[in-house]
């Protein structure tokens, strides 16, 4: 039998080679998926590491007790030996020791840490030298950061004290890469704080001071230290260990560390969770592409081998006529094709790894190694086994057909129950997959391949329709004398073998269109989400002393309001309250990035949230504030300690402060002076209140004048007439009652009623109240309604809804936007939210320096481009790219199927056409007819794309964290889609034309012309 099999392979070398190539393709397609998933998994882990919080990358073990003496190398301590025993394999351990204290130098002092940390010298650029071990007769050596040196006023060679221990500066360091996890985020290199002009050098005066091993001090008790060990997660660890394993190892370490009193603290498990989730999403995501590739490979094998088998039908019929048993024919068929299928496994492994390597190099966000492992081999074997099954299935009809059928040159037009069963199975699988996908939840199992299953089902049905229609139209055209086209049509439509080919080409076109559409949609969704979530081309998180400081600093950095805008963002509250975005709204349109999903223009928002204020702000300039008050008569003696006092609230760049005037309020007319040093050069009056312990009788307090200055030449800020202008004021409390006093000495009269609230006051009505806001529709408060929310100062307040938007910058679909200046003016006190500076794309290169010069400390930044790239580096995006690659490969497989089909039936086709030519058929009527499958595939591919798009689009994962807060476009950009679809159809059409030309040339040769 082996000889016969070998003889069959040798006799049909071309077919064996074709089967081998296609089986290699199937095997490689199957192997490429796990190879890519493994490599992308590595890259994802590396990328997650690069963006992880410092505490997610290390486990900190710290000695339970502090010990006397300077921090020193703990290598030879019991602590270290215990740490080494507890540390799971693969973690990098950095040993250290640290003391807290105050460093005092010539120019000043700073609270900092004195730290011994192994390996620090390799990670800094030092002016001077790294500290060395010192003996008893030497001062301990330290190196300080640039900022610390400046604060202390020390240079290399100088001395200063740390916790009263004298030390000598041997070097001034700058971290080579402050983002290196070695620096523990902001723990060693402390971020700058707002308030004083800064520099672009990372860090602050509180940066760690590094010491080498020092000899014991004469009195070790003056300073205490604690040994630490930081266990770092490494790339190798993430590559070689599964996330559940690592999680278990870390939990064990924490358990045992705590038992030892080391207080093992870490959030590494959240990193492991993210990596695991991303890897799972990637594996799920590429299932579609891998499934498509393998399916197409099997289908093309089915088409090619089935076509070739059709040509061998008479030969098989003759063998059966001669008495050869069918089981021997089966054995021969299996043997003949098992050999190429087996050979395909190793070749497929290599091909898959090569394809994955190529793809990984172009798509992955970080370096990754593509390796050949058992998983890859197993998938390759599955691919090859499926190829063998497809080959045998393709021959099943021939091998089981009656002899009389085999002896016919053209197979029966009606394929019978097998084709129908195949269609039913395809449709059933597709229906199950689509139902599963649309039932909600995270897609799994069949749902992962729902698009390709749906495409196949729709394709086989449309192919059936196309064959029937093609045959009918072809016959009609022949009857009408349209010989060329009619003949071309019936040549295809009356050959049942063309049906799977049409389905194959349809699936190839549809899946390319679908995956290209998904990529296009994802790209748009990433862009949209990045635009909305970031809010402006670039958003810088800053530290400022107050909202007022933030506003002032940004306005000074960009006086014309062209490219920078101050903003404060509060987070969503635990109780679900809407987050607040407060912006310097006059700059919103110039700086924020517009997006159609907002449903409103920035100009409209600005108009709504920044109406003219009822009154102008009251600005004070000078360290003394004088308030002229007169009161109705009251008995101060009888009140004892309950005499009312005047409390003035002012707001400056340093924040908001309540100052109580001395002395207490006296009966009659008097001047009350308040010390307000923050009002140099300028501050803003927020409110003035009369505070009493109890309200014992009716009392009227008349505000007659307000002066500001340094005591010598005060300026009248408010006259009695201005006080009496009631639109300038509102009650500082809802129950405060006040009125205007006219006549010769106008004033504002504040009434305190007996038994009423003990505190009453007036606030400057320099902002609308309640605050006008634009609210997102999803929050639900109607236009004109009062919306309760937490203000920028963290206190509950109510806003008036002046407009409703579909979404808002930074907040997405839920939140409200207010004017920052107005919100700050009505804020009582306190700081809430994150301070940001939004920058337009046109911001100058030195904008950060400008902000630093205004005393803003830069804490971090994000950009629309960067956030978009982040989305593009996550598992769903990588899976989408793999799927697009698979679909592109699918197009080539489709073309290969067309060629294989044509090659298999060329002889028959040419023989027939030559016969017709001899009967006078003109040369122009000699056509391949392959345009029909291409044309059908183009049209039905479009239809199938539409069907699977409508049925499965919503189930495709675009974001690692689930749905985007920004509505995802319903349809892709058709122009971009055509960029893929047109070349695909063109490739098929070109293949069809070339194959037709080959047929025509062959017919010409055989016809003698």
């Amino acid at each position: 039998m082996l000889t016969v099999i070998w003889g069959a392979i040798a006799a049909r070398r071309a077919q064996a080679l074709a089967v081998l190539l296609l089986a290699v393709l199937a095997s490689a397609a199957a192997a490429a998926a796990p190879s890519y998933v493994a490599a992308a998994g590595q890259a994802l882990a590396r990328y997650e590491m690069s963006t992880a919080e410092p505490n997610e990358l290390r486990i900190r073990l710290a000695e339970g007790a502090e010990y006397p003496g300077l921090p020193t190398d703990p290598t030879r301590t019991v602590f270290t030996s215990t740490v080494m025993r507890l540390t799971p394999a693969g973690f990098d351990v950095v040993l250290g020791a640290q003391s807290g204290g105050v460093a005092a130098g010539r120019a000043g002092e700073v609270t900092s840490s004195l730290i011994f940390r192994a390996g620090v010298c390799e990670r800094v650029a030092v002016a001077g030298a790294c500290p060395r071990s010192t003996s008893r007769d030497q001062l301990p050596e330290v190196m300080v950061s640039t900022h610390t040196a400046a604060r202390l006023g020390v240079a290399v060679g100088d001395r200063f004290t740390f916790a009263a221990v004298p030390v000598r500066v041997t070097g001034i360091y700058r971290p080579l890469d402050v983002t290196d996890p070695f620096w523990l985020g902001g723990e060693l290199i402390r971020p700058a704080t707002g308030g004083t002009p800064g520099t672009s050098i990372p860090g602050s005066a509180e940066d760690a001071i590094f010491i080498a091993e020092a000899a014991p001090l004469p009195d070790d008790d003056v300073i205490l230290h604690r040994s630490t060990a930081d266990l770092y997660v490494t790339e190798k660890l993430l590559d070689t260990r599964s996330m559940p394993e690592l999680r278990a190892a870390v939990m064990k370490l924490q358990r045992e560390g705590n038992r030892e009193g080391f207080g093992a603290g870490t959030t590494t498990t959240s990193l492991f969770d993210r990596i695991e989730r991303q890897r799972a999403q990637l594996a799920d995501g590429v299932t579609l592409g891998a499934g498509l590739l393998v399916l197409l490979c099997w289908l093309v094998l089915f088409v090619a081998v089935g076509s070739a088998a059709d040509q061998r039908r008479p030969e098989q019929g003759l063998l059966l006529l001669r008495g050869v048993q069918r089981r021997r024919l089966w054995a021969l068929a299996i043997g003949e094709h098992a050999v190429p299928a087996l050979v395909a496994i190793p070749l497929g492994c290599l091909g898959g790894v090569a394809a994955a390597t190529l793809l990984a190099a172009h798509t992955l966000p970080a370096r990754a190694d593509v390796t050949l492992d058992a998983n890859v081999v197993a998938f390759a074997a599955i691919g090859a086994a499926g190829a063998l099954a497809a080959v045998l299935l393709a021959q099943a009809r021939m091998l089981s057909a009656p002899v009389v059928d085999l002896l016919r040159r053209v197979p029966a037009r009606v394929r019978g129950w097998r084709a129908t069963i195949g269609d039913v199975v395809a449709v059933s699988i597709a229906a199950a997959a689509v139902v599963q996908l649309r039932s909600g939840g995270s897609p799994s199992g069949l749902a992962l391949v729902a698009p390709v299953a749906g495409a196949l089902a729709a394709a086989v049905l449309l192919a059936r329709v196309a064959m029937l229609a093609g045959a009918a139209v072809g016959a009609a055209l022949l009857a009408r004398g349209r010989t060329a086209v009619g003949l071309a049509l019936v040549q295809v439509a009356r050959q049942p073998r063309f049906r799977p080919l049409i389905a194959l080409l349809t699936v190839a076109v549809a899946m390319l269109a679908f995956t290209a559409s998904m990529n296009e949609l994802a790209s748009a969704a990433y862009r949209d989400r990045a635009v909305v979530e970031v809010g402006a081309a670039r958003v810088v998180e800053v530290d400022a002393t107050s909202r007022s400081h933030l506003l002032t600093a940004v306005r000074k950095a960009d006086p014309e309001g062209r490219f920078a805008m101050a903003a404060v963002v509060t987070n969503r509250l635990p109780d679900g309250g809407a987050p607040v975005l407060a912006v310097d709204s006059a700059r919103l349109a110039a700086v924020a990035a517009p997006h159609p999903s907002y449903g409103v223009s920035f100009a409209d928002i600005t108009r709504a949230i920044r109406p003219d204020p009822p009154g102008e702000p009251v600005l004070l300039r000078g360290r003394l504030l004088t308030v002229v008050l007169s009161t109705t008569s009251f008995d101060t003696e009888a009140l004892g300690g309950n005499v009312p006092r005047l409390a003035v609230t002012v707001s400056s760049a340093d924040g908001t402060r309540v100052v109580t005037a001395r002395p207490d309020i006296r009966p009659g007319r008097d001047e009350y002076v308040v010390q307000v040093p923050e009002c140099v050069p300028q501050c803003r009056l927020v409110k003035m209140e009369v505070v009493a312990q109890v309200s014992w009788q009716n009392l009227a307090v008349h505000f007659e004048e307000l002066r500001s200055g340094d005591g010598s030449a005060d300026t009248v800020v408010l006259t009695g007439t201005q006080f009496a202008d009631l639109k300038r004021w509102r009650g500082s409390r809802s129950d405060s009652e006040f009125s205007a006093r006219g006549g010769a000495s106008p004033a504002l009269s504040l009434q305190m009623m007996e038994g009423g609230p003990p505190t009453a006051g007036i606030s400057v009505a320099d902002s609308p109240f309640p605050l006008p806001v634009y609210l997102t529709r999803s929050v639900g408060t109607p236009l004109g309604g009062a919306h309760p929310h937490e203000g920028v100062d963290g206190s509950p307040t109510k806003a008036r809804v002046e407009g409703v938007a579909d979404a808002l910058p930074h907040l997405g679909g839920a939140g409200l936007i207010v004017d920052l200046e107005y919100a700050d003016r009505i804020a009582v006190s306190g700081q809430s939210g994150t301070k940001e500076v939004w920058l337009a794309a046109t911001a100058p290169a030195d904008v950060l320096d400008r902000l630093r010069a205004q005393g803003l400390a830069i804490l971090g930044e994000r950009t629309i481009t960067g956030v978009r790239q982040d989305f593009d580096r996550q598992a769903p995006a990588l899976a989408l790219r793999f799927n697009l690659f698979a679909a592109l490969a699918g197009v080539l497989i489709g073309a290969a199927g067309l060629i294989a089909m044509a090659a298999a039936e060329q002889r028959t086709r040419v023989t027939m056409l030559v016969a017709l030519r001899r009967q006078g058929l003109p040369p122009r009527a000699v056509r391949g007819g392959y345009g029909l499958p291409v044309a059908v595939a183009a049209v039905s591919g479009g239809l199938v794309t539409l069907v699977i798009w409508l049925l499965t689009r919503s189930g495709q994962r675009l974001f690692s964290d689930g749905r985007s807060p920004v509505p995802i476009p319903e349809w892709p950009d058709i122009d971009r889609l055509l960029v893929f679809a047109v070349p695909t159809v063109a490739l098929f059409a070109l293949t069809a034309v070339v194959l037709g030309r080959v047929i025509a040339a062959s017919v010409r040769r055989r016809s003698g012309r």
């Binding site: 053209v410 016959a475 009857a479 004398g481 009356r494 016969a915 006078g920 058929l921 003698g1008 012309r1009």
Partner: protein, 215 residues
């Protein structure tokens, strides 16, 4: 009028199958071409049909050298090949219609002639069947029907009765003679001496050489 003068015909570099053949096929007559298997009957018919170019000598139509099969078709030389030359993917009727339309007949005319000719050959019931679904005899009659429908000036029929029953063979022979009576020159390759005897002329091929039995 189709003539051969001293024609030698062969395939590739192999020795010539026919040597020094000279003959003239006249309108209104049926020339029987006889000879044992392998004697060169089909080769001679192919040469007369323009499918084979003679190595030596000439094949002329009305005095013009025959260039190739297309030229032969232009000169209305109709061929009914031994293997029928039917397109298996087409129905019996379509095989006729395609040839007729290619010959310049209008589509309605082609449909009418097809129906009439198939009816003449007893194939009216098989008109819409694929050729592959027809029996060998039905296929042969379909090929004859197509050859007759084309109404050529020369009709070359290569063993077109080999798979026919007696009744149909007689019908086909009568139709071939009818073609001659219409004015066509008919060349009819056959093994059957009785059939040959019924023809006006007979050319017997022996080892590649022609022997005129009757003229």
């Amino acid at each position: 009028m189709l003539s051969m003068h001293g024609a030698s015909v062969g395939y590739g570099n192999a020795p010539a199958v026919l040597r020094e053949i000279s003959l003239t096929v006249r309108p209104g007559r049926v020339l029987a071409l006889t000879g044992s298997s392998g004697a060169g009957k089909t080769t001679l018919i192919n040469a007369m049909a323009g499918l084979l170019r003679p190595r030596d000598g000439t094949v002329t139509v009305d005095g013009q050298p025959l260039r190739d099969r297309d030229h032969a078709v232009e000169q209305r030389i109709v061929l009914i090949p031994q293997d029928n030359g039917l397109a298996p993917i087409l129905t019996a009727a379509e095989n006729l219609q395609v040839a007729l339309v290619a010959d310049g007949v209008t589509p309605p005319g082609a449909r009418r002639q097809t129906a009439a000719m198939l009816d003449l050959l007893g194939l009216a019931g098989q008109a819409d069947q694929l050729v592959e679904e027809l029996s060998g005899g039905q296929q042969q009659r379909t090929a004859v029907a197509r050859g007759l429908a084309l109404r050529g000036s020369v009709l070359l029929a290569d063993e077109v009765t080999s798979e026919l029953d007696a009744g149909n063979r007689q019908r086909v022979l009568e139709l071939l003679h009818g073609e001659a009576r219409r004015g066509a020159a008919v060349v009819f390759a056959t093994h059957d001496p009785e059939v040959a005897a019924a023809c006006e002329a007979e050319l017997h091929l022996v080892e590649g050489r022609a022997e005129i039995i009757r003229d």
